[in-house]
C-alpha cells in the first residue's frame, strides 16, 4: 500500500503551541512519526546564566505558563542543594500549597482540552469554568493568576495571611461537588470509554526505556512520583496516595489526572489547616562554588534542574529538563499502528482539521505530489458510487 505523509503543524487549528508532526500513514494506519521541535526554543539556559541566583528563579518561571511554579520550585531546590540547607517549616507548607494549587488548575486545563479534542465541548467549558475558581484562590494567595513569583532561594517571598485561610478553604470546598460531577461525566461516559480505552498503549517496558515521567509513566504501571520517592517540602507530612494504573492507554492517563486532582485538593486543605508558624524565609549570604540538583513533581512529571556555581552571584551553568522532553518521544511507541483518527487523541495537544484539504497533499515517498484536493473529492465520489453499486442501491 502506498505510504502517505500527513503534516500536522507547526501552525494548526487549535494547536496551542507551534510543533510539527510528520505522520506517515498506510491507508488509515500510522506507520511512522517524526516530531520536529524548536519552534519554542528561546535559549533560557543561556539567559539564566546572565542573571543572578535570585533573578534566575523568575526567569525559569517564564519557561512554561502552565507549570509556572514547577520550574521555580526545582530551581530553588537546586540552589539550596548547593549549600545543603533546609528551609523553614512554614515556607515548606506554603510551597506545597502553591504547587498543589497549580496541579489542580493544570489537570483541569488538560482535561478541558482533552474533552475539546474528543469533540466533547461540554467538558471543556465545565473544566475551564471550574479552573477559574482555582485561579481566584491563587490570586488571593499570591496576587497573580499565573506567574506567582512566590519562590526564592531559602524560602518564600510572601506569607499567607491568617484571614485569607477561611476564604481559600471555602473556595476549595466549593469546587469539590463540581469536580465530582466532572469525574462522573468523564469516567462513566460510554462515548469517552469507546474513544479512549485501548488506544495508544504505552507498555511498562517502553515507559522504562523512554524514561517516561509523571502521569504518562504512572498510567503504564510505573509507580514513580518524586513527591513519594524523594520527599521534599511538606509532602512527607501529609497523608496522600499515589495513583497508579496498569493499562497505559489514553483512558488511564485521563483517569489518573482526574483522580490526582482530588488528592491535590486533599493535600492543599491539609496544609492550609495545619500551617505552622515561624519564619517564611532564611537569608542566604553567599553561595560557594559547587553544584546542586533540584527535582519537583510537576503536573506533567518530574522537573529537573542542575545549577553550577563558581562562587560569584551568577550560575555558570543552569540545565533545565522539563517532563515533556522525556514524554514526547514516547509517541514513537504509542502512535504506531493506530488509526489516524485516534492519532489526534494520542498526540492530545493537537486537533488536526481534515476538512482543510488544501493543507493536506498526498505525496509518494519521493515527495512528488500525486493528488490535489479536487482529485481527492472526485476519487471519494467515485468510490462511493462503486460501493453503492456493490451493495445494490
Amino acid at each position: 500500500m502506498a505510504k502517505t505523509i500527513v503534516p500536522i503543524g507547526p501552525y494548526h487549528p487549535l494547536q496551542e503551541e507551534p510543533e510539527f508532526f510528520k505522520l506517515t500513514v498506510e491507508g488509515e494506519r500510522v506507520v511512522a512519526i517524526d516530531v520536529h521541535v524548536g519552534y519554542n526554543h528561546r535559549g533560557i539556559e543561556k539567559i539564566s546564566e546572565m542573571k543572578t541566583f535570585d533573578q534566575s528563579v523568575y526567569t525559569v518561571e517564564r519557561i512554561c505558563g502552565i507549570c509556572s511554579t514547577s520550574h521555580p520550585f526545582a530551581c530553588v531546590q537546586a540552589v539550596e542543594d548547593i549549600i545543603l540547607m533546609e528551609v523553614p517549616d512554614r515556607a515548606k507548607y506554603i510551597r506545597t500549597i502553591i504547587a498543589e494549587g497549580e496541579r489542580i488548575h493544570s489537570h483541569l486545563l488538560w482535561l478541558g482540552l482533552a474533552g475539546h479534542f474528543l469533540g466533547y465541548n461540554t467538558v471543556f467549558m465545565w473544566a475551564w469554568k471550574l479552573r477559574e475558581e482555582i485561579l481566584d484562590v491563587m490570586e488571593i494567595l499570591s496576587g497573580n493568576r499565573n506567574n506567582y513569583a512566590m519562590f526564592t532561594p531559602g524560602g518564600v517571598r510572601r506569607d499567607i495571611k491568617a484571614e485569607d485561610i477561611p476564604v481559600v478553604l471555602k473556595k476549595v470546598d466549593s469546587i469539590l461537588p463540581t469536580l465530582d460531577m466532572l469525574k462522573k461525566a468523564v469516567m462513566d461516559d460510554p462515548v469517552l470509554h469507546a474513544r479512549t480505552k485501548g488506544v495508544g498503549i504505552l507498555t511498562r517496558d517502553e515507559a522504562i526505556s523512554f524514561s517516561a515521567l509523571g502521569p504518562t509513566a504512572r498510567a503504564s504501571g510505573v509507580a514513580k512520583d518524586v513527591r513519594k520517592d524523594a520527599p521534599y517540602a511538606a509532602y512527607d507530612q501529609v497523608d496522600w496516595k499515589m495513583i497508579v494504573t496498569q493499562n497505559g492507554d489514553v483512558f488511564d492517563k485521563l483517569a489518573i489526572r482526574v483522580l490526582e486532582t482530588f488528592e491535590s485538593v486533599k493535600i492543599m486543605k491539609y496544609c492550609l489547616t495545619h500551617l505552622p508558624g515561624g519564619e517564611i524565609k532564611e537569608r542566604i549570604k553567599n553561595i560557594p562554588p559547587g553544584e546542586g540538583i533540584g527535582t519537583h513533581e510537576a503536573p506533567r512529571g518530574e522537573v529537573f534542574h542542575y545549577v553550577r556555581s563558581d562562587g560569584t552571584n551568577r550560575p555558570v551553568r543552569h540545565k533545565i529538563r522539563a517532563p515533556t522532553y522525556m514524554n514526547l518521544p514516547t509517541y514513537k511507541a504509542t502512535i504506531i499502528g493506530e488509526t489516524i483518527s485516534d492519532a489526534t487523541i494520542i498526540l492530545a495537544a493537537i486537533d488536526p482539521c481534515y476538512c482543510c484539504t488544501e493543507r493536506l497533499a498526498v505525496r509518494d515517498m519521493k515527495g512528488k505530489k500525486l493528488f490535489n484536493g479536487e482529485d481527492l473529492v472526485r476519487l471519494s465520489q467515485e468510490k462511493t458510487m462503486q460501493l453503492k453499486k456493490k451493495m445494490g442501491f
Binding site: 540545565k319 522532553y325 518521544p329
Partner: protein, 157 residues
C-alpha cells in the same frame, strides 16, 4: 541495594575506570569516569541497578568539555551523576542512544548547542536550532558571540 553497596559494587566492577567519587550528601553522588567506559558503566546503572535516566547536561568549562549523565534510583532516593571530561579540541564520545531511547534527544541537543560529537548516534539531525543557523557556531560555548548582524538588541527607548 543501598547507597554504600552500590558505590562498592561500582568500585569492584569498574575500579580502573573511575577517576573520582564525590559523595556530596545522602541523596547525591558525583562520579567522574573515563570517557571510554561511559557506555558500560551507564548500562550497568540503567539496566542492572534499575535506575531511570534523568538527563545529561553538557557544559563548557575553562579547561575542558564536561558532560554529566544524571541517573535516579527511586527505591533509595539517590541521584548518581556520571561526570565525563572531554578535551576541548576534539569533544567526542560514544552515544548512549542505541542502548536506550531516552538519551536520543538530549544528545542531539548537546551536539548542536555545544558541538560535542556522539559516535554511533542513530539520528543526528538538528533538534532545536533552525536550518539557517551557521555550522560551527555553538550558542552554549563560552566563546559564543553574536553572528547575526541584523539582530536588534536594544529596546529603542
Amino acid at each position: 541495594m543501598r547507597k554504600e553497596e552500590i558505590l562498592k559494587s561500582l568500585q569492584e566492577r569498574f575500579g580502573a575506570d573511575l577517576v573520582e567519587i564525590v559523595d556530596k550528601s545522602a541523596k547525591r553522588v558525583y562520579i567522574e569516569i573515563k570517557p571510554e567506559a561511559l557506555v558500560k558503566i551507564s548500562l550497568y546503572i540503567f539496566k542492572d541497578l534499575g535506575a531511570r535516566f534523568n538527563i545529561a547536561s553538557g557544559m563548557d568549562t575553562p579547561h575542558d568539555m564536561e558532560i554529566l549523565y544524571h541517573f535516579t534510583i527511586e527505591r533509595i532516593n539517590l541521584i548518581i551523576s556520571l561526570r565525563v571530561k572531554l578535551p576541548k579540541e576534539k569533544p567526542e564520545i560514544d552515544s548512549l542512544a542505541p542502548h536506550f531511547e531516552a538519551a536520543n534527544w538530549i544528545e542531539r541537543e548537546m551536539q548542536e548547542l555545544l558541538g560535542i560529537k556522539f559516535n554511533g548516534h542513530p539520528d543526528m539531525r538538528r533538534l532545536l536550532l533552525p536550518d539557517e543557523w551557521p555550522e560551527g557556531v555553538y550558542p552554549l560555548r563560552r566563546d559564543y558571540e553574536e553572528w547575526d548582524k541584523t539582530a536588534i538588541r536594544d529596546r529603542g527607548v
